[in-house]
């Protein structure tokens, strides 16, 4: 299945800000994170600190992704 991933802030040093990814059906956020860390090993420390959202709702590592979902990967907040 194909999903869309959006990245922010320091993650954009490793990934483009918006890209598509192919994942097996029923993949979880955790599995997607693992695949991204394998693709870009230098991003793995930062990925571990990130929060994830499926269609703009925060999602835990065991949350299942559906085809066409938009996944936001949110580094630790640094506003203010």
């Amino acid at each position: 299945m194909e999903i869309k991933i959006r990245t922010y802030a320091a993650l954009k040093d490793h990934f483009s800000d918006s890209f598509s990814m192919n994942l097996p059906q029923n993949s979880t956020i955790g599995e997607m994170k693992k695949k991204l860390a394998l693709d870009k090993p230098q991003s793995s420390d930062l990925l571990e600190k990130c929060r994830f959202a499926i269609n703009q709702e925060f999602a835990a590592c065991d949350a299942r992704i559906s085809s066409g979902d938009i996944i936001d990967i949110l580094p630790p907040s640094s506003g203010g």
Binding site: A9, A10, A53, Q56, L74, S77, S78, G79, G80
Partner: protein
Amino acid sequence: MFHITEKKINIEQLINQARHPESGALVVFSGEARSHHDGKSVTSLEYEAQTEMAEKSIINILDQAKKRWPLNFAAAVHRVGRVEISEPAVVVIVSAAHRKEAFEACQFIIDAIKAETPIWKKEFFVDGNTKWQ
């Protein structure tokens, strides 16, 4: 009301909105762009947000504050895009009958925004380097 904006934050306008006949205390926090970080000179800042989620996050934080303290007014606005030195990057403003709840609520709101709201700061240094915080 929008909580994320590309425009300069108008603090005076927010103060006028926050004034309330039953409020004896009005507290404003302005988080301003600072010219140095870790001993390095900063020329400007740039903020990025996941705008829809940041809006929801700030609304949620303001609701929590209103439940916890008897506030007559509470608002928070955060800039995105380029912010020059000494410009407000984030403003929190609350009014309440007494100063104790106004101070406490204002601190709670800014602390929660910094910890939770999906907004990120990029610093531009005088030597031409940049860094996402």
